[in-house]
C-alpha cells in the first residue's frame, strides 16, 4: 500500500524530487556493487555501537545511583533535562570544535543523545522496585548477592531494556547526523555526497539502510535479552519482555 502510494507520487514528481521505489532499489544495488554499501555501513555501525555502549556504560550506573539516592536525583534532574533539550545541531557544532573533523564526532553525538534516555529508564527501574519484596528478602536474611540477582535485577531488566531500545532507536539517527558534516566515511557521509550530487535515489537508499539498521538492532536486542534472562523467568512472571 505504502509502496504503491510511493510509486504513484514518484510518477507525479519525477526522480529528482521523489525517485520511485525501483529507482531507490537500483541506487541501493549500485552502492552495493561499488562496495560502498558494506564499507560505509560497517563504519557507521561501529561508530553507532561505540556511542551507544559508552552511553550505556555511564548511563546505567548513574541511573541506578539516582534511583537509590533521592538527594542526588534532585541535583541531577536539571542537568538531564538540559542534556535532553540541547539541540542536536548545537552538540554537532560543539563536537566539531572540540574533537575536530573526524570519526569521533558521530560517536560523541550518539553518546550524548542516548545517555539521558538510558539514565532516565534505569532511574525509573529503581523507582518501580516493590519495597514489599525487598522487605521480604530482609526478613528472611537473604544474602546480598542473591537479593541483587533474584529480587532487584528481574524488576530492573524490563526498564533497562526499554532504555536500550529507545537509545538504539535514536542511535542510527544521531550517528548519521554526526557523520553528515564531520566524517568522510559512513552512511552520513554517503548522504552528504548524494545531496551534493542531487542523487535523491541514493539519499533514499541510505535512509533505507538506517531504517533497516534500526529494525535489526531492535530485534537483536530482544533476542539477546530473551536468551540471557530467560532463566530468571522474567517473561513468565511479569510479561516485561515481548
Amino acid at each position: 500500500m505504502l509502496v504503491l502510494a510511493w510509486q504513484v507520487l514518484a510518477g507525479f514528481y519525477g526522480p529528482v524530487i521523489l525517485p520511485s521505489p525501483a529507482e531507490t532499489l537500483g541506487a541501493l544495488a549500485g552502492l552495493a556493487a561499488g562496495g560502498d554499501l558494506w564499507s560505509m555501513t560497517s563504519v557507521t555501525v561501529g561508530r553507532g555501537l561505540a556511542g551507544f555502549l559508552l552511553a550505556a556504560a555511564l548511563g546505567v550506573p548513574l541511573g541506578l545511583l539516582l534511583g537509590f539516592n533521592t538527594g542526588l536525583e534532585k541535583a541531577f534532574r536539571p542537568l538531564l533535562v538540559a542534556l535532553q533539550t540541547t539541540p542536536l545541531v548545537s552538540w554537532l557544532l560543539l563536537a566539531i570544535i572540540w574533537l575536530g573533523l573526524n570519526g569521533s564526532v558521530p560517536v560523541f553525538i550518539v553518546a550524548v543523545t542516548t545517555f539521558p534516555l538510558i539514565v532516565i529508564n534505569s532511574y525509573h527501574g529503581v523507582k518501580s522496585i516493590d519495597p514489599g519484596l525487598v522487605e521480604m528478602a530482609r526478613v528472611f536474611k537473604i544474602k546480598k548477592s542473591r537479593v541483587i540477582t533474584e529480587v532487584y535485577l528481574p524488576q530492573l531488566v524490563p526498564f533497562l531494556l526499554a532504555g536500550f531500545s529507545a537509545a538504539l532507536g535514536t542511535t542510527w539517527k544521531a550517528v548519521a547526523m554526526g557523520e553528515l558534516f564531520s566524517a568522510r566515511s559512513g552512511v552520513g557521509a554517503g548522504l552528504s555526497v548524494a545531496r551534493m550530487n542531487l542523487e535523491t535515489a541514493q539519499i533514499l537508499a541510505w535512509t533505507l539502510v538506517l531504517v533497516v539498521l534500526g529494525l535489526f538492532s531492535d530485534r537483536l536486542l530482544f533476542y539477546l535479552a530473551r536468551r540471557r534472562f530467560n532463566f530468571m523467568g522474567v517473561e513468565k512472571g511479569r510479561g516485561g519482555l515481548h
Partner: protein
C-alpha cells in the same frame, strides 16, 4: 521471652502505638486482635526488626530466628510456588534439602499440585497459603503471622487451622498471630491480646487454658471465649462510634 514496655510508634505523623506493654513466654501461640488499622501490623514489624519503636523498650530473644507470613504475601512474581519457598531456604541448606523441605510443607498445605504455578496464575487465597508455607518452612524460633487466612473461605480455613496446629505441636515455637477473626483467635491462642483503637494500647488479655487440640467451634467453652472477646471489642467499638458521632456534630456546627 519477648516483652514490650510502653512502646510508642508514630507513622506518617500519626501515633499508631500509644504505649503498648505485654510480655510473651516462649513457645506459646498469641493472637493479637482489635479494630482495623490499630497498629497490629506495626507491632509485628517491630518484632521482625523492620521498624524501631520511637520510645519504650522492646526485648527480643538473642538468637533472632524470625519467620514472617505477610498480609500481602510478598511472593516473587518470576518464581513458582516451589521456587518462592526454596528462595528463602537456599542460604541455609543444600539444594536437595531445600527441595525436600519445600515439598514437605507444600504437601502439608495441600499445594503440591500447584508447586509449578507462578503467582500470577494463583488465586489470592492460594498466594496467601504459599506465603504461609514459606513462613513455616523457614527455620525459626519466632513465627509472625499477619492475617494469614484473610482471603480464605471458612471450610478451608478450619482445615488449615488444624494443619497449623499439627505443625506447631510437632515443633512448638513462639507464634504471634494477628487476626480480625475472633473465632480463629479463640481456636488457636494460648492468650488473646485485644488492642484498642489508635493510638493503640493493650486493652485486655485473655489467657485460655484449654489445649488448642481440644477446641472446636461447637464447644460451649469456645463459644463463651468468643463472646468474651466480642464483648471487649464491642465496648471498644461503642467508644469509637460515640467519638465518631461527636465529630460529626462538631462538623455540622
Amino acid at each position: 521471652m519477648i516483652s514490650f514496655k510502653k512502646v510508642w510508634k508514630k507513622l506518617g505523623g500519626e501515633t499508631v502505638l500509644g504505649g503498648i506493654s505485654f510480655s510473651l513466654a516462649a513457645d506459646g501461640v498469641y493472637c493479637i486482635t482489635g479494630p482495623s488499622g490499630c497498629g497490629k501490623t506495626t507491632t509485628l514489624r517491630i518484632l521482625a526488626g523492620l521498624e524501631q519503636p520511637d520510645s519504650g523498650e522492646v526485648i527480643l530473644p538473642q538468637d533472632r530466628q524470625v519467620s514472617f507470613s505477610f498480609q500481602e504475601p510478598g511472593l516473587l512474581p518470576w518464581k513458582t510456588a516451589e521456587e518462592n519457598i526454596t528462595f528463602v531456604l537456599r542460604d541455609l541448606m543444600s539444594p536437595g534439602r531445600c527441595l525436600k523441605t519445600a515439598g514437605e510443607y507444600l504437601n502439608l498445605m495441600g499445594l503440591w499440585k500447584y508447586k509449578d504455578y507462578y503467582p500470577a496464575a494463583m488465586s489470592g487465597g492460594m498466594r496467601q497459603r504459599v506465603g504461609l508455607c514459606r513462613a513455616f518452612a523457614y527455620p525459626h524460633r519466632l513465627l509472625l503471622l499477619d492475617e494469614p487466612f484473610k482471603s480464605l473461605d471458612l471450610p478451608l480455613k478450619l482445615t488449615l487451622l488444624k494443619d497449623v496446629l499439627k505443625i506447631w505441636s510437632l515443633a512448638p515455637r513462639t507464634v504471634v498471630w494477628v487476626t480480625h477473626d475472633i473465632a480463629e483467635a479463640a481456636l488457636m491462642a494460648h492468650r488473646v491480646l485485644v488492642f484498642s483503637a489508635k493510638p493503640a494500647v493493650v486493652k485486655s488479655q485473655l489467657a485460655i487454658d484449654l489445649p488448642p487440640r481440644e477446641r472446636n467451634l461447637g464447644d460451649s467453652r469456645v463459644a463463651r471465649l468468643i463472646s468474651d472477646i466480642l464483648e471487649i471489642m464491642e465496648g471498644e467499638a461503642k467508644l469509637e462510634k460515640g467519638m465518631g458521632e461527636s465529630d460529626e456534630k462538631y462538623q455540622r456546627d
